[in-house]
Symmetry: C2
Subunit: 146 residues, 2 copies
């Protein structure tokens, strides 16, 4: 289940952050989109709600949300600049379409065995991982000639 903008706003307040219209505009954009968005795109969309908002504020709000683990960065071969909302309860990963950029979440990465093996082999104290799949979504798979 995805967080709503209002729920996130509450979390911000709980942490002592002020709830400004600019922050709310950013929250609404991120909560409404299921795709990964660059700071620039978030800025554009946020301006529909709050015409005066500055790109700088978007960066600062993203930093804030990232610190609170409410948002996560999406890595892709053409850049690692996008963010999307993180679902707080369950551990999940992304499957991204190389054609249109669509992102699908999935859970159940089943990497515990591998992690255990790496622990034994390397003695690293493993704290996390990054896993993303790339491919073409059904829409982008359709041959151009059809």
């Amino acid at each position: 289940m995805r967080l709503t903008a209002n729920r996130i706003a509450g979390i911000l307040r709980e942490h002592g952050y002020k709830l400004t219209p600019q922050r709310h505009a950013v929250l609404k954009v991120i909560a409404a989109s299921h795709d990964h968005l660059t700071p620039e795109v978030i800025h554009e969309k946020a301006r529909l709600n709050n015409p005066g908002i500055g790109l700088i504020t978007v960066y600062r709000t993203l930093g804030l949300l990232n610190d609170l683990n409410l948002v996560c960065r999406v890595h892709s071969p053409d850049g690692c600049r996008s963010y999307m909302m993180r679902r707080p309860t369950d551990h999940h990963h992304h499957l991204m379409c190389s054609g249109c950029g669509k992102v699908v979440d999935f859970a159940g990465c089943a990497l515990a065995d591998l992690e255990q093996r790496l622990l034994e082999e390397t003695r690293f104290n493993i704290s996390g991982h990054l896993l993303e799949f790339y491919g073409l979504c059904p829409d982008c798979c359709i041959p151009a000639s059809v």
Copy 2:
């Protein structure tokens, strides 16, 4: 088995690229290191062999190597700007130390089942994945007070 600088040089030539001293200097740096290196660091090290080499040339050479799949980008929470040599034959991933930046390769990610499941669930035509583990290596795990 890792590629040597000379082997890579041969591959470049096979593809019709000229083998300049600058390119060779970059190859030697990358082939000699098992860590991920930023363009800047590669430039610094390459200058030991070729004092006149420009940072621009390092960028261009990295682009070349990346296109030929001889080098791969390393993603980390603090940036995705580093590269390291790719082993051409076998599919592998990285385990990175958050303390010192050391990178350990590993193979056997065993994601085929997961990929199959995602294919069935999403109908994506999956072409690849990105997997990296983070943690502290044994050296960095030692408590500071000891």
